[in-house]
């Protein structure tokens, strides 16, 4: 069509065109990187623990009665607690454990394979009562589960029975079965592997999210912790029962209750802030630049009324005028897009090197371009329609 004349006309309005081009370019750079940041956070949030997170409840007992200073009293009370919790209607399983999913950490140590080459592996380490796999909702893939008889109550014991995660088995035993093998800890205590379970994922400060063991034992020093798994939909009904039942076991203590969903939400606060903020940035940017395009196009229509009237008088159809403005905007948008592509990758480079960002996915860039094209068309449509409605009579009027 009239590509050449439009481009020449645009170059005569350099600054005004440049403003829109720059605006579109920076908008593209910002929204593609914003989409990229959102996507990176979503990847984090979609990471599955492999546990029945929605139906898990964490209970902490904080004893104040003097009797709890005695180890054997703590142990028997804790074991009674587990039985009391498991007996609550609507509860599928309960375990006394030092593990808490999604708390953003845990406890860790280093081990080597018994009879292996001595390589040390850092891994997460938790103590638990035998019900832990059923409570988390994970399955045994080989060997057997922990049993009550695995628990050795001797405080100076140097061996214990453990079940390990499948990823740890792969890491330490390189494809061989770990069942019947041993892990040697830094203090030379020996862990006998009786079974392997799967899956396990708990984000940790060090990259050991999938490596763990559960050692048979009782966690009671400084207060006992429990994980409780309830039947789907029964959470509301179970929560008020917990404290009642545990107080029956012993009333010399206070309790903290939290659902694992709450703990997980807390863990992802930063992700949710980033997602919320970047979504707002994208939406608002589209509106702001959109309004900008509407405004500038409107001015240019008003300014060119006479010219448009003359064109109409000379035989241009309404469609031709509409096309003229849409084409003009499309040329501007694309100039902005080309500059914006460079800016988008430049900004991404800065974000990756300075803020630990993720590399830009080209599909988000493509999405951003399509979004800006659509925005350009929508924003131009109204003023362009107004332009098409200009009467040819304008041409002959002097004022």
């Amino acid at each position: 069509m009239e590509f050449g004349p439009i481009v020449r006309a645009l170059t005569r309005n350099k600054v005004r065109v440049l403003l829109i081009v720059l605006q579109i370019a920076i908008t593209l750079a910002v929204i593609t990187n914003a989409i990229n940041m959102i996507a990176a956070e979503r990847v984090k949030m979609q990471k599955q623990s492999g546990f029945d997170d929605e139906n898990l409840l964490w209970v902490r007992s904080r004893p104040f009665a003097e009797a709890f200073n005695e180890r054997s009293f703590r142990i028997t009370t804790t074991q009674s607690d587990v039985r009391a919790l498991a007996a609550i209607p609507g509860v599928r399983g309960a375990a006394n454990t030092s593990f808490l999913p999604w708390q953003g950490g845990g406890s860790s140590g280093e081990v080597k394979a018994g009879g292996g080459d001595g390589t040390l592996y850092r891994m997460q380490m938790y103590t638990s009562s035998p019900g832990i796999t059923d409570t988390l909702g994970v399955r045994m893939v080989s060997g057997r589960n922990l049993r009550d008889s695995d628990i050795d109550l001797d405080p100076n014991a140097t061996t214990s029975a453990i079940i390990i995660s499948r990823e740890l088995e792969k890491l330490v035993f390189k494809g061989q079965s770990a069942v019947g093998r041993q892990l040697i800890e830094r203090d030379n205590s020996v862990d006998n592997i009786v079974g392997v379970f799967d899956p396990f994922y708990n984000p940790y400060g060090w990259p050991i999210h999938e490596y763990t063991y559960f050692a048979a034992g009782v966690v009671s020093r400084g207060g006992a912790n429990f994980l409780v798994r309830v039947e789907p939909g029964k959470m509301k009904q179970v929560i008020p029962m917990i404290e009642k039942r545990l107080l029956v076991v012993n009333d010399g203590r206070n309790f903290d209750l939290k659902t694992v969903s709450e703990i997980k939400d807390r863990y992802f606060t930063e992700s949710r802030i980033v997602i919320g903020a970047m979504t707002a940035v994208i939406v608002l940017l589209i509106i702001v630049t959109g309004l900008g395009i509407v405004g500038v196009t409107s001015f240019s229509v008003t300014e060119r009324r006479k010219q448009i009237g003359t064109r109409r008088a000379l035989g241009a159809t309404k469609q031709a005028i509409l096309r003229h403005f849409l084409l003009e905007n499309w040329i501007i948008t694309n100039s902005g897009v080309i500059l914006g592509l460079a800016l988008a990758y430049g900004l991404n480079y800065v974000l990756v090197t300075n803020t630990g960002g993720v590399k830009l996915d080209w599909r988000f860039v493509a999405g951003g371009v399509v979004l800006l094209w659509a925005q350009g068309i929508f924003a131009t449509l109204a003023p362009a329609t107004r332009a098409a409605a200009v009467s040819p009579v304008v041409a002959t009027r002097s004022i």
Partner: protein, 440 residues
């Protein structure tokens, strides 16, 4: 003349209220976004102890495994990475030095409080074990009484400083100095009650959740051993204790104590570093500290940076929000240019009637600044709302609000945005030859 130009500018804004609203809304959004995210970042990044932070130093010593450096989050292998805390035994040795003006080893724990039966059931509370120097060192404000002195530290006196909320709960908010408080299996004497103290960053312990409130109760670090108190924070070790007793644990190479010193001036850092290095060299002769000599005496602001107190995402969001403001300013420039040029005939009449270029320029810049300020104020108000919301997300007990610094920054930003955006359009309109427009 300024008054007249201002009147003309406001009249021109009123002429097209919708356009004026769009322009103001654009600036408001830009200011809101940039103020909000730079404020969130600023809350984490700002100096928690203005005026003295350069004299406060955090001490770390590399007592890790000879075979490998202390691991870092990315799984990288930086041989200079060292544990974030030090051992109990080293902390006690460092406390012997006379170089620092003040110093405190410390850690967080949890203890059972046994209040008067009529007041409440016993409950568990977060407790921090510190030396008496802790309070003046970190500017802890007292409502009643004061901290304890070095003699109390040396003798391991059973004294406690409690926070305002605890004083409210246990003693009805009255001056409780001298009152008894049962913690665990011992009786303590309250020597001080803190006034409300809620630093946004708990700068004295950056090794765990540093946006939570300060602990409710503070007791002398010297009670650690007699009361067998264990940390509720992180403890890191590569070599297990040699036995299972509490003394074995205290003598082990497990790192669980934070150590801070306040030096007379930043220049004393080298001397103190020398002291720590000499101590470690001596320990090396006893077979400890097997890694190459690597001790770090790091100033408060530097350690905040090293521990990544400002989360990377905050930097990213602050950068994005500033770009957002740039886009809003470009947008504004385009709209103002159109708006001003559409007014060329009127400007020409004014010019013909004797308005100078400076008059016209001024009139238009004033118009830009009016929308700039209006946008800035609305943006700041919006930002207050958004910050309240984000503050709740970060922790339930903090309020993120605009401090004087951020309000000034926001006003400055909106004025600059209005000025920069308006400069070119105002220049264009005042540079126009009046003759061109008069004969229509």
């Amino acid at each position: 003349m300024l008054a007249y130009n201002t009147r003309v500018a406001t009249r021109n804004l009123k002429r097209n209220p919708l356009l004026a609203a769009i322009i103001v809304a654009g600036i408001a959004l830009g200011i809101c976004a940039s103020t909000t995210f730079t404020t969130v970042r600023h809350m984490f990044a700002r100096d928690p102890l203005p005026g003295k932070s350069s004299k406060i130093f955090y001490v770390r010593m590399d007592n890790w495994d000879p075979a490998q450096a202390y691991p870092d989050a990315g799984g990288g292998t930086n041989p200079h990475h060292l544990p974030t805390q030090i051992t109990y035994r080293d902390a006690m040795e460092l406390m012997r030095s006379n170089l620092p003006v003040r110093q405190s080893a410390q850690f967080q724990s949890s203890m059972v409080v046994y209040p008067d039966r009529r007041i409440s059931r016993p409950y568990t509370e977060r407790v921090r074990l510190v030396f008496g120097d802790f309070f003046p060192m970190f500017d802890a404000p007292f409502q009643y009484g004061h901290g304890w002195d070095r003699r109390a530290d040396a003798k391991g006196e059973q004294v406690a400083v409690i926070n305002q909320a605890t004083n409210e709960k246990l003693f009805g908010g009255a001056n409780s100095v001298g009152k008894r408080l049962r913690l665990g299996d011992r009786d303590f004497t309250v020597v001080g009650v803190l006034a409300r103290w809620r630093p946004f960053i708990k700068m004295y312990d950056l090794t765990q959740n540093y946006v939570e409130e300060p602990e409710a109760i503070f007791i002398p670090f010297s009670l650690t051993r007699p009361m067998q108190i264990r940390t509720f924070g992180n403890s890191d070790g590569w070599k297990p204790p040699t036995g299972t007793t509490f003394d074995d644990f205290l003598a082990s190479d497990i790192d669980w104590v934070q150590f801070w010193v306040e030096l007379r001036s930043p220049a004393d850092q080298a001397a103190y570093q020398q002291f720590v290095d000499n101590y470690v060299r001596q320990e090396k002769t006893r077979g400890r500290f097997p890694r190459p000599l690597n001790n770090q005496v790091t100033s408060l602001l530097t350690i905040m940076r090293e521990f990544g107190v400002v989360r990377p995402a905050m930097n990213a969001m602050a950068a994005m929000s500033l770009l957002f403001l740039v886009i809003c300013a470009l947008n504004l420039t385009g709209l103002l240019l159109g708006k001003f040029l559409a007014r060329a005939p009127e400007v020409s009449v004014r010019r013909a009637l004797g308005a100078t270029r400076a008059d016209i320029f001024m009139q238009h810049i004033i118009e830009c600044e009016i929308v700039g300020i209006a946008g800035g104020v609305i943006g700041m108000l919006l930002s207050l709302g958004v910050l309240k919301f984000i503050g709740k997300l970060i922790t339930a007990t903090t309020v993120i609000s605009l401090d004087a610094e951020m309000i000034l920054a926001a006003i400055f930003l909106s004025l600059v945005a209005g000025l920069i955006a308006g400069l070119y359009p105002a220049w264009r309109i005042c540079a126009m030859q009046p003759a061109v427009q008069l004969k229509v």
